[in-house]
Structures are given as structure tokens and as C-alpha cells.
Amino acid sequence: MKKHSLALFVVLMVSMLLAASVSAAETAKIRVWIRGVNDVATRMFEEEVIPGFEKLHPGVEVEFRPLTFANNYIEIDTAIAAGNPPDIMTLGRPSALKYADKGVLLDLTEFVKSWDRYDDFYEFTWTDSTDMNGRIVSLPVWLDENAFIYNKRLFEEAGLDPNAPPETWEDLASYAQKMTKYDAQKRVTQAGFKLNWGDWMGLLQSVAPFVWQNGGTFLDEKTWKTATVDQPEFVEGVQFAVDLLNKYKVDNYKPWGEANATQSWIKGQFAMQVNNTGVLRDIYGFAPDRIHEVGVALPPGRKTRATFVGGTDLGVAKASKHPELALEFIKYLYTTDSYLVRLDQEIGWQLSPLKSHKEASVKALPVTEVLYDTLEYGKSFEPIPENMDVRKRTAEAIEETIYGLSTPEQALKQAAKDINKMLQKTDWTKKF
């Protein structure tokens, strides 16, 4: 009796093991980590996108995990360090090249070039996803553009035409001064033009457009090896941004700022701002009765118009066990048209990198039309792995100027020196 049960037990165990290994052989699993998705978008992935893909590819299992904006990098980094990265992961547009530089990402050049959608992407998006050796290492999935947002009611109160937003720096400065209000302690209670503070990234995203509008760049855009932040165009752009604060006093400088941009807008605490479209989406969501007061326009310009375009890229891990399935999933996500467009809207009114999506996007959300028009003037990060370090050092110089520790010329000259020293150390060719 005892013997029998033992034998039975053994047989049972073996068959279970066999069954497990057989089923493991049959199902291939890919893991997809996407950042910044809200509940609706998460549900869309879980209930539509993934079941749809799994239906087309029987035996394939997709594991989806939404990541928060706050901690998505740490989460991805630790997974990579532990040797277990997700097959598909979202990366911020400026940082994808840094991951590629460390050898984490699969070279997508072949895949992209042979994909019939290649020409459908806005061209500039490829520049940002291509590393110094000409390899495409990531795919833009959402473009996050900084739009010029203003408050029509405050324009009217100040006697300005609410349908004529500023076109030039001079307009911007004079309008901003007209709409700035202070309290008895000289604190700004209503900012004429609000710079988007927060950390150094926010500061840069506020100041960089002025530099670009003036024809300046961070690096020499032919070699990407020399800093140009000490050039007159750049210095002049920084000077204007600093003047807005220190000379025209249209806002208080708040590092590590704590203002809730959406609430500030609703409370009428600022008249004009260049901010990402998520703010716009939130205003529409929180104050539907105030939408008629929201103005969205092309950013002002000087030599040219310009604004910042960031966004999210998809990367495929080199360590992926099923790279071909990962690429299939990407194709599916991009080409099943409605998904990307609807996700754009949920994730914060970001823009699709595919030209053919524009029409559907605009139809769903008319306000995005002006955003698509603005894309033409979009500038992004420098396509080198060190782009964050370049910008961080520049932001420091700008902050020194704001605090009056130094003139823009001096601060930026020193920054250019430091950046050049840093860039000399790197040798892009040795890494691959």
C-alpha cells in the first residue's frame, strides 16, 4: 500500500514537472514596462492592447507593468543591474542614448529601416534616437511638447487683446510686466510670465527656448564635441530669461518650486507660461468651465521660434530572450492606429510621432492642432550620452546668473570650459 502511494506520488511529480516544462516551452513571455500611464491607460493596455496582441500570437504571454513618473528610472536601472531587464521599456527621450551607450539596448536600425512606417515618423525624431555611430537605438512613442499657454481673462484685465499672444521678446517682456502684480512685501502674487521651476531640468526647459529662439545651441551641432554655451547668441538668450526675473521682475525665482501649475493657472496666479501639455490637460480636467480662458499659441520668437520637445521612447533590451516578439509587439502598438492616439490623450495630451496620426488626434482633441503646428519649431536634447551632464552644468551657470553671483558671460564661459573638458574624456568609438 505504502509502496504504491509512493510510486503514485513519484509519477505525479514527474508528470507535473513534464507538464510544466512543456507549457514553458510553448508560451513565450515578454515583459513590457510603460511609464506615466494613468488608470485609464493601464486598463487600455490590460484589456485591449495586450489581449489583442495575444490573440494574434497564440502562445505568447505579455506581462504589463505601469511605472510611475517619479521612480521609473530606478526601477528599470535595478532590473538591468540585476541582469533581468524588461523586454520593452520606456525611456525618457534624452536618456535613451545613455542606456544605449552602456550596451543595454538592442540595435533597432535594421528593424526600423525595413519597416514601412519609417517615413511616417517626423524626421527630427530619428535624429534624437540615433547614436554617434549612426545606430537607431530607440523608438519615439510620445512627444511631449512645451506649449505656450496663457490666460485670456488676465489679458483682458490688463487691456491686452486676448487673441493676440506675444510674438516677439519685446512683446513678451512688456505684456508680462503689465500683468504682474505684487503684494505689500513685494512678493509676486500674479506672475506675468511664469518660468517653469522645480529642479534644474525645469529651469533649463524654461530658459533653453530663449536661447534657441536667438539662434544659440548647447553644442556644436556638427561634431557634438564642443560646447557653444559661451557664444553670444546663447549668452543673450540667457540674459533675457534672467532679465525677466531680475530686471522686469515678472516672477519670483523658486528653485525646487512647489507651485501646482494647474491650480496656479485656475487661481489666476500667472498670465503666461511655457509648460508641458500635461498642465493643459489638467486644466481641462479640473476646470471645464474655464476652458474658454485658456489660450494656446506658438511660442514667441526672435530670430526664429523655438520650443522644447521631449517625450518617451521605447527601447528593447539587448538581453531580451524574444527580441523578435518584442519588435512584433511594437509594430502592433504603433500600427493599430487608435491605440497610440487614444493613449496620447490619456498620458497627458502628448503627440504621436507618426504623421498619419495627426488627423485623428486633432479630431479627438481640437486644441492639439496648434501643438502639432508647434512641432515644427521643436528642439530636443543633444544626441550624445552625456547630454544630461551638459545641460546640468549649463543650468548651474544659469542659476549662478539668476542669483547675481556672476554675469551670464562669465558663468557660461566657465561652463563651456568644464563641458569641453568632460567631452574630451569620452571616446565614442571605443564603446562598441
Binding site: 519670483n252 523658486k254 528653485p255 525646487w256 548651474e396 542669483y403
Partner: protein
């Protein structure tokens, strides 16, 4: 004779074995999380490990040489030393409050003690979040200043005041903790010493100087060592309140370690910063030992 010695030996062996058994889990943990960790930190500090890739190349003291010339490290070190330098102020304040609380003239002692101690039990993350509001440009502190006609300041955005502001709110949080320790220390001083001093004609200042302070020697040693070690480990409030800004004015060693290791992917370098923190704490503790000729016995 032999027959009697053997059970004794056996008992001794058994005792030793039991002893090791009781100590074994602790030792396993210490060896892993202290000794191995420290050795590993020292070793990693001499590599170019970047966190993302598992490969580490031994590069000798290069990280330390780089630290030596790293402007941001100097700033972080300087700021950390300022936090340390502020420790005596906190100690003096808590001692003052403890002396008041020890006075026979004070009523509602339990109430006061509970009140002082409540901030201690709150987490630093929460406390720092609250004080971010208080220090804000339209926060409480500025309202008070404006009320008495003083100029308002964006405390955490001001180059001069950001670090003192962060230190001050940390000191306020720690007051209750140190106060309770001092109070306990005061109560161990035998009353007859004061009586004797009074008979000798010592005024209250002399009593404080010759009876109270010597009596608090051990307490002061313990509190100051704890506080100084703590000052090298400040991080939570920086992470919540300033992110190290403005212009690095509140960057401290631990926040720089975190930035270098996890955000900038220079784990080898970050480990070198960790080793420096360790050395600082060690040196400070040894100096304390020398300064206070203690009968501290273990």
C-alpha cells in the same frame, strides 16, 4: 581527580558550544551586513563599477584622487561639516530646556515633555514636508516676519539661509530626544552634591559648572556622539525639502552619494564617498573619546 575533572571539562565545552549557538545568528548577520559590507565598500570604492554593467575594473585610488579635486564633493563636505558644527547649539538648547524642566518651579511637566517629544516620533520625511510649507515664501515664518515688519525671505531658495533653515528644523525635531536624555542624566546627580555646594557658598552658576556639567559627562558624551554621527547621515530632509539646491548649498555627503550611485551611475565613486563618511565618523568618535576623558566603561 580525573573523574571529577572530566564532567567539568565537558560542561565547559557544552557551555561554550551553547554560547556560540546563541551568538551564531547574530554573528552571521554582522559578518554579512557589517564586515563583508565594509570590505565590499572599500573594494568597490577602488573600481570603476557603474551599476548598470556587472563588470568592475580595479582602478586603485583613482576615485579618491578624483574626489579630492571634485568641486561638488567639496561643497557637500563643507555643508555636512556645517551640520556637524551646529550640533553643540542643539545640545545647549536641549540642556537648557532640561534644566528648566528639572526646576521645582515648573508645573505640567508631563504635558510639556509629551509635547516636546512628539516631533521625535514623527518621521523626518513628514516633518521636512511640513517645514517646506512653513519656510515657503508665503508660509508661516514669512507671515510672522511680515507682521513684525521684517522683510520676507524665500528660506529654502536663498543661498545664505537654505542650509541654516534645514539645520534649524532638524534641530527642533531633535530637541525633545536630547532633552529627555539630559533630564534623565540630571536626575542621576545625587542631590547631596548640590547641598554640599550650597554649604560651600557656590552660586547657581558655579553649581552648574562644578556639579551639573561633570555629572552629565556620560550623558553628554553619548548624546554628542549620537548627534555627530547623525549629522554625517543627514539625507531625508534634503531629499524632501531642497534636492540639494539652491546651487548645491544644501548638498550633503549622503545626498551626493545617492546622486552619484543611483542617478549618475558611478557606483565605484559613490562607494568612495561612503568610505569617506565612515572615516569621518570614526575620526569624530575617536576625537570625542580623547576630549571627554570618560569613565565610560563597557
Amino acid at each position: 581527580m580525573e573523574a571529577r575533572q572530566r564532567p567539568l571539562l565537558k560542561r565547559r565545552t557544552k557551555e561554550a558550544l551553547t554560547c556560540y549557538l546563541f551568538l551564531a545568528p547574530n554573528m552571521a548577520l554582522f559578518v554579512t551586513f557589517f564586515l563583508y559590507a565594509i570590505v565590499s565598500a572599500f573594494y568597490n570604492s577602488m573600481t570603476d563599477w557603474d551599476f548598470i554593467n556587472p563588470t568592475k575594473n580595479f582602478i586603485g585610488l583613482q576615485n579618491y584622487i578624483e574626489l579630492f579635486g571634485d568641486r561638488y564633493f567639496h561643497i557637500a563636505m563643507k555643508n555636512t561639516l556645517w551640520v556637524t558644527a551646529a550640533v553643540p547649539i542643539g545640545l545647549a538648547l536641549s540642556l537648557g530646556i532640561a534644566l528648566i524642566m528639572n526646576s521645582k518651579l515648573v508645573k505640567f511637566k508631563t504635558l510639556f515633555r509629551t509635547g516636546f517629544y512628539t516631533p521625535v516620533v514623527i518621521s523626518m520625511v513628514v516633518w521636512a514636508l511640513i517645514w517646506r510649507g512653513i519656510y515657503s515664501i508665503d508660509g508661516l515664518l514669512n507671515e510672522v516676519l511680515a507682521f513684525v515688519g521684517l522683510p520676507v525671505v524665500d528660506w529654502l531658495g536663498n543661498l545664505k539661509f537654505a542650509l541654516p533653515a534645514v539645520i534649524a528644523m532638524g534641530t527642533i525635531k531633535g530637541l525633545g530626544y536630547n532633552m529627555v536624555l539630559f533630564l534623565a542624566g540630571l536626575q542621576t546627580i545625587p542631590p547631596h552634591l548640590y547641598e554640599a555646594a550650597e554649604i560651600d557658598g557656590a552660586n547657581s552658576w558655579q553649581q552648574f559648572w562644578h556639579v551639573t556639567l561633570p555629572g552629565l559627562q556620560h550623558t553628554t558624551f553619548f548624546i554628542s556622539v549620537t548627534a555627530i554621527i547623525g549629522s554625517f547621515q543627514v539625507f531625508d530632509q534634503i531629499y524632501v525639502m531642497t534636492g540639494g539646491g539652491p546651487l548645491g548649498r544644501t548638498e550633503v555627503l549622503v545626498s551626493y552619494l545617492y546622486y552619484k550611485g543611483f542617478l549618475s551611475w558611478e557606483m565605484g565613486y559613490a562607494n568612495a564617498i561612503g568610505v569617506v563618511i565612515f572615516m569621518c565618523v570614526l575620526i569624530m568618535t575617536l576625537i570625542q573619546r580623547k576630549l571627554i576623558p570618560s569613565g565610560t566603561e563597557y
